[in-house]
C-alpha cells in the first residue's frame, strides 16, 4: 500500500498504527507517540528537534546546550549536533554512574542556555542509576528538557518507564525491545514518545495530515515511517499483554544476573547497582587479560570457535564486552555461553604475551585450516575448533580467518570486481 493514498483507504494500517502508538505511549508513561523515525538515531534527532521547537515556542531560541554523559552512545552527540546543539559532556563517577555534582554544576552553569540532557536508562553501563530522579529534577530546574535514549528499554517495560524517571521524551528502538528482527543491520523503527508539553511539536508530513499542530517538518519521507514492520511490534505487545511484558522484563533481568553470577571469578562485572545487581545487561572487564597479551577482540573472535557471536565489544568502555542475553534465551543456552566464556578464561590464563601462537590470537579457526593436511600450530585441532563437547553437535564455521581491517581501509574496494582485481591492490 502506497504511503500517500487517502487515509480512509488504509483503515487496517491506521488501526494498527494508532493502537501501537497508544500502547507505546502507555508503556513509556507519556502522552503521545510518533512512529515516523526509521531508526533509534533518527528518533534521537526527532526528539531533540521537538525539544528545540518547544523552547522556540516559548521564545527560548537561545537554548542550545545539550548535556551528554560520557558513557553515551555515539549517536547521541552526533544527533545533538545535527539538531544544532552544543554538546557538553558530563562526567561519570567511579561507579560508572553519572556524577551528579558535575551534572548539577554544568546544568547551573549553562542554566540560561540549557536545552536538554540526553540520558540512557538504565545506563549504558547496565545499571539502574538510583539518582535518576534527582538528575531529571536538576535539568528541569534549570530549564532543560530530558531526552531519554530508549536503547535499554528492555530493562524497563512494565516495571518502570521514562515518565516515571522524569524524562520528557524518549525514542524506542522497536528493533530491539519490541521484537523487530535486526535484519542484518536494519530495518529499524525509532518512534519518539513524549510528555504533554511536547505533543504539539510532533513531526508532520507534507502530503498526509499527521503530527502536532505546531509540528516540526518531516523527519522521514513516509508519514508513519516503516509501517510494515510496525506490525511486528504491534504483534509483540498484543500477544504479551501487561503480564507477558512484565514477565519478559523480569526474565531479562534474571538471565543477565544469572550470567553475571555464573561468570563470577572468571570475569568481573564492571558496574552494578547499589545492591550489586546488574540490570538486563552487564559489562565484563577484559582489560586485565592484557597481561597475557589478550585483547578483547581476541575473546570476541574466539567465541566464534565456540559457536557464539560476540557480545558488544568495547562499548561503552574500551577493553570490555557487554553481555545482554534477553529474556528469550533458555537456561541451557545461557549455560553453554557461560561454559564457553569460562573455557576461554582458562585459555587466557594459559596464554602469554611472548607466545602469540595461541587459540585466542589465531581465532577464529576456519574449516579450511582444520581440514588441511598440514597443522603446525602448538595446540591440537580439537583445542582449536572443538574445545567443548557441545560444539561437535552443531559446529558453526567462520568462513574466513580474522579479517585485516586496516588493509581494507588503506585499499578501499567497495564493489564486486573480479577477485583478481582485489588481490593486485
Amino acid at each position: 500500500m502506497h504511503p500517500f493514498v487517502p487515509v480512509e483507504q488504509a483503515e487496517g494500517y491506521q488501526q494498527v498504527l494508532k493502537k501501537l502508538e497508544k500502547q507505546l505511549t502507555e508503556i513509556t508513561g507519556f502522552a503521545a507517540t510518533s512512529l515516523q523515525p526509521n531508526s533509534g538515531a533518527q528518533g534521537e534527532f526527532a526528539g531533540l528537534m521537538v525539544i528545540r521547537k518547544y523552547h522556540e515556542s516559548r521564545g527560548d531560541h537561545h537554548r542550545n546546550i545539550c548535556l551528554i554523559p560520557s558513557s553515551a552512545h555515539g549517536t547521541n552527540p552526533a544527533s545533538a549536533v545535527m539538531a544544532g546543539m552544543k554538546v557538553v559532556v558530563t562526567k561519570a563517577n567511579e561507579d560508572g554512574n553519572i556524577d551528579v555534582d558535575d551534572l548539577r554544576e554544568k546544568a547551573e552553569k549553562y542554566k540560561d542556555n540549557l536545552s536538554a540532557l540526553m540520558v540512557t536508562y538504565p545506563s549504558t553501563h547496565g545499571v539502574y542509576e538510583s539518582a535518576i530522579r534527582e538528575i531529571t529534577k536538576i535539568i528541569h530546574e534549570n530549564g532543560g528538557q530530558v531526552y531519554m535514549d530508549g536503547a535499554n528499554m528492555n530493562a524497563q517495560v512494565a516495571l518502570t518507564n521514562p515518565g516515571a524517571i522524569g524524562a520528557d521524551v524518549c525514542h524506542l528502538n522497536l528493533h530491539k525491545t519490541f521484537a523487530i528482527p535486526h535484519g542484518g543491520g536494519g530495518p529499524g523503527v525509532g518512534p519518539i514518545c513524549l510528555a504533554k508539553q511536547l505533543v504539539p511539536f510532533l513531526p508532520k508530513n507534507p502530503l498526509i495530515d499527521t503530527g502536532g499542530k505546531d509540528g516540526i517538518n518531516a523527519i522521514s519521507a513516509a508519514p508513519w515511517g516503516s509501517s510494515l514492520v510496525c506490525l511486528i511490534s504491534y504483534a509483540y505487545i498484543t500477544m504479551l499483554g501487561e503480564n507477558g511484558l512484565k514477565k519478559s522484563t523480569q526474565y531479562a533481568i534474571l538471565n543477565a544476573n544469572y550470567i553475571k553470577e555464573r561468570l563470577k571469578g572468571y570475569y568481573e562485572t564492571l558496574y552494578t547497582g547499589e545492591r550489586g545487581r546488574a540490570a538486563h545487561e552487564m559489562i565484563l572487564d577484559c582489560r586485565p587479560f592484557k597481561e597475557h597479551g589478550i585483547e578483547v577482540v581476541d575473546i570476541a573472535k574466539r567465541l566464534m570457535d565456540y559457536g557464539f557471536h560476540a557480545p558488544t565489544v568495547s562499548f561503552p568502555v574500551a577493553g570490555t564486552v557487554m553481555v545482554e542475553p534477553t529474556e528469550s534465551e533458555s537456561k541451557e543456552e545461557l549455560d553453554r555461553f557461560c561454559d564457553a566464556m569460562i573455557s576461554i578464561r582458562k585459555e587466557i590464563d594459559e596464554a602469554s604475551k611472548d607466545e602469540p601462537d595461541n587459540p585466542l590470537k589465531n581465532a577464529p579457526h576456519t574449516q579450511a585450516m582444520l581440514t588441511s593436511d598440514t597443522w603446525d600450530l602448538p595446540y591440537t585441532r580439537k583445542q582449536a575448533a572443538f574445545p567443548l563437547p557441545y560444539i561437535q553437535e552443531n559446529k558453526f564455521w567462520p568462513t574466513v580467518r580474522r579479517v585485516d581491517d586496516a588493509y581494507g581501509d588503506r585499499n578501499l574496494i567497495c564493489t564486486c570486481d573480479p577477485i583478481e582485481a582485489y588481490m593486485e591492490a
Binding site: 504511503p3 555515539g74 535486526h182 543491520g185 504483534a235 534474571l254 545487561e281 558453526f396
Partner: protein
Amino acid sequence: MNTDSFALRHIGPRRSDLPEMLKKVGVESLEQLVFETIPDDIRLKKDLKLDTALSEQEYLEHINELAAKNKLFKTYIGLGYHATHLPPVIQRNILENPGWYTAYTPYQAEIAQGRLEALLNFQTMVADLTGMELANASLLDEATAAAEAMTLLFSLRDRNQKKNDVNKFFISEEVLPQTLSVLKTRAIPIGIELVIGKHEDFDFSEEYFGVLLQYPGRTGRVYDFKGFIENANSQNIKVAVAADILSLVLLESPGHFGADVVVGSTQRFGIPLGYGGPHAAFFATKDEYKRNIPGRIIGVSKDMDGNPALRMALQTREQHIKRDRATSNICTAQVLLAVMAGMYAVYHGPEGLKHIANKVHNATATLANALEEIGLYQVNETYFDTIAVKTDATKIKYLAEGKQLNFYYPDTETVSISLNETTTLKELNKIVSVFAEATNTEAKKITEIITGKAIPEAAARKTEFLTNEVFNRYHSETELMRYIKKLERKDLALNHSMISLGSCTMKLNAAAEMLPLSDP
C-alpha cells in the same frame, strides 16, 4: 502448561528452571530480584493499561481482519513509491527466512560473509546504475539520503567557502515534496539556507555550495543535466542528484555527467510498499569523498591468510568514535531491504532490468497515446514513467476512486500518473476509461503496447551496467535459491545461537509476529 500463552514461547527459561536460576542469583523470587535491582522511587506501582494478551492464533485472526479493512486500490501516485513484484524466490528464501532476518549488523565479519557479499552486490548495483565510484550499504529513505547529501556537500566546502560562510543550497522545484520537507528539517539547525527554484533559472552564484536535482523530476520530466552539472562544477558548486533507480536502466547515469552524489530509493526493486517502508535508500559518490560517506560501507579486505574477505570499511568514522564531530548519526540502516533489492538485480540481471524498465516506459507511452486519442494531452515532452494530464482533476479523482484507482493530483487541473512494473494492459484500459468517462468520449480498447520514445537522446543510457558475473548467473530460480542458501550458510543468526549484544536486545523474533509481513 498453557499452550495458548505467547509468553510461554517468548520467554526462554522454563518454569522448572526458575528455582535453580534464582538460587544461583541468590534471591527467593523474581519479585525480590526486581526489588533489589530497580530503585524504589521509579518502580511502577500500578499495572500498565493494556488489552488482555491475545494468543498467537487469536492475533493472526485479528490481524487478518484488520488487513481486510485496507482498500487495495491500484495506485499510480509515484512520488518515489511504486508497486513492484517481489520475486517469490526472494520472498521465500530471504524475507521469510530467519537465517537472514534475525542476523545482526555484520560487525563480526568472519561469521557474516554471506550478508556482506549480498551488500557488496547492492553497492555494486548502485554504483553501476548511478555511474558513481562507490556506494554505501543503504540509508533510511530517499529523503534522508538527500539530506545526507546536502550535509556532505556542506562539509566538503573548501576553505574559502567555509571562511565566507557559503551556506546556500539550491533545490530544484522538481524535488519530491517529502524530500523537501526533510531537507528543511535538517538544514535549519545547522545553518544551511535552502533556495528552491527551476534549475533552468539557476544562476550558479558563488553563494551556493551545492544543488539538489531530481532525475526524472517530480512532474515526470527527464532533463539532460549535462550542461548544468558542468556549469556547477566549474563554479565550485557541487551537485547531488536524487534519481529513480529503475529509470537509470534507460537513462544515462548522473555519474557520467559529473554528479558528486547520487541518492534515491531502491524500493521499486522488489520491495513491498508497506504503507511507507521499510525500504533501502542508496547513497553513491565519488572515490575522493569516501571518508565522508554517511553510514556503513562494505569493503573488500583480506584475512590472516591473505584470502579475500569482506567487512565494514572505515569503521573508525562511526559515530561512537567521532561523536560530536560526526556529520551523520546514522547507525541502523536498511540491510534486509538492501539485500533483497540487490538480489532483485542479481535475479533479473541487466537484461531483465532492461525488460522491466522498457515495459514501464512503453506502458507509459501507450497510455499517453491512448489519452491523446480521446483528445487529452499530457504535458511532459520527456518522461520515463510519469505523465501529467491537464484536465479537471477533481472530477477525475472522483471517478478514479470509484474505480479503485489512485492518481496524484498536484493541483486542481493536473493529474499525474506514474506507471510501474505491475501495470498490465487491463489496467491501462481501466485508467483510460476514467478519462473517457470524465470527458464523455469513447475510448478505443488498447490491445497493444507501443514503444516509448520519450527519453531525450542526450539522456538515453549508453554506458553499460551490471557486467559483473554475479548479475549474469543466477537467473533461474534453482540457481538463485542455492546462491541465497550458500550465502546464508556463512552467517550466524539467532536461529543458530544466542547473540548477546549489550544494548542491542537480540530477542526472539517470533514467527507469529513475522507471518503477516508476507501479505503486505
